[in-house]
Symmetry: C2
Subunit: 165 residues, 2 copies
DNA sequence: CAGTATCCTCGCAGATACTG
DNA sequence: CAGTATCTGCGAGGATACTG
């Protein structure tokens, strides 16, 4: 019967999940903070299928997190920009980043165990390394806003010691 | 080909999603903060299928977010408790709650539009109301920690004006 | 380039039966 | 009660072809 919907739960967390609780959406939002605006930006950044991306962008627009505007006057091209509601998601992203910094990458890190699908056995998951196999420290994991990031986003990132994502 | 995994992305947000980015997990964590410990607690609270709950609890234990301990000495019953890593997720939950308070339930609220699957038409989603159909204010949406909530959790909730979820 | 439409596969989830 | 095992199905997600 497919997934259960959380939209009718009396809980802000359930509501938030209903808006952006799927696997891709939050990463799309993250890229938007880094300056992604056009369909192709998200596509190449994330390696997401076109139809899925199309669906997610529509959904984000419907939820008022993105706005869709023609890129130039009377052009057929559009761009997706974070609305105020969307910009308000920055604390969500930074909080997630902070938790991972400390508990996935950071000092509290223990190798994560996952199940191998084929053998159904528990195996330690690969650690995150650079291309040469050297483990990455938390400093290396920050992503800097791209050149397309808006002044507003840059201000937001700068404020309250929130730093890059 | 199934879902794409984010575990190898050099991004804390992707890592966090890989750990608890699915639909149910964060709600399970929320209930843990409210005092849920036993399998049946989560089951009845959430109305989740047994096998899914079992899988999610295992995954949470593997990720070090929950610990599984015998409830009494040498008993066959177990309870799932938030580890320190798990307790560290509280800011994530409160941030999500705050965003929903302001942008889904709060002043910035505009009725959310969703697609009707059958007709493929856009329809406004139900607003959140009480059983009598009266719209709920943000104050009504907070959930209080249950009697099983640990002193540690209560301290955490109290600190930094984080309030109930 | 920016999508839409279609097909297909598999993961997620519900239901249920079964076990200690 | 606390799970595990199995069956089933929807639908999310990937790949690709097609359109303006």
């Amino acid at each position: 019967m497919g997934r259960k919907r959380f939209g009718d739960m009396n809980c802000g967390i359930a509501q938030a999940l209903e808006a952006f609780g799927d696997w891709w959406t939050l990463l799309i939002v993250r890229d938007a903070f880094f300056g992604a605006r056009r369909f192709g930006d998200f596509e190449t950044n994330l390696g997401i299928a076109k139809n899925i991306l199309s669906d997610r962008l529509q959904r984000l627009v419907e939820h008022g997190i993105f706005s869709k505007q023609p890129v130039a006057e009377s052009a057929q091209r559009f761009e997706y920009r974070l609305t105020e509601k969307g910009e308000a998601l920055l604390p969500v992203l930074t909080t997630l980043r902070d938790w991972s910094d400390e508990w996935v990458f950071g000092k509290g890190h223990e190798p994560v165990i996952v199940k191998d699908r084929a053998t159904n056995r528990r195996i330690p998951r690969m650690r995150v390394t650079d291309v040469d196999g050297r483990p990455l420290g938390r400093r290396d994991l920050r992503t800097e806003p791209g050149p397309g990031a808006s002044q507003q986003t840059l201000r937001l990132l700068e404020r309250r010691r929130q730093g890059p994502l």
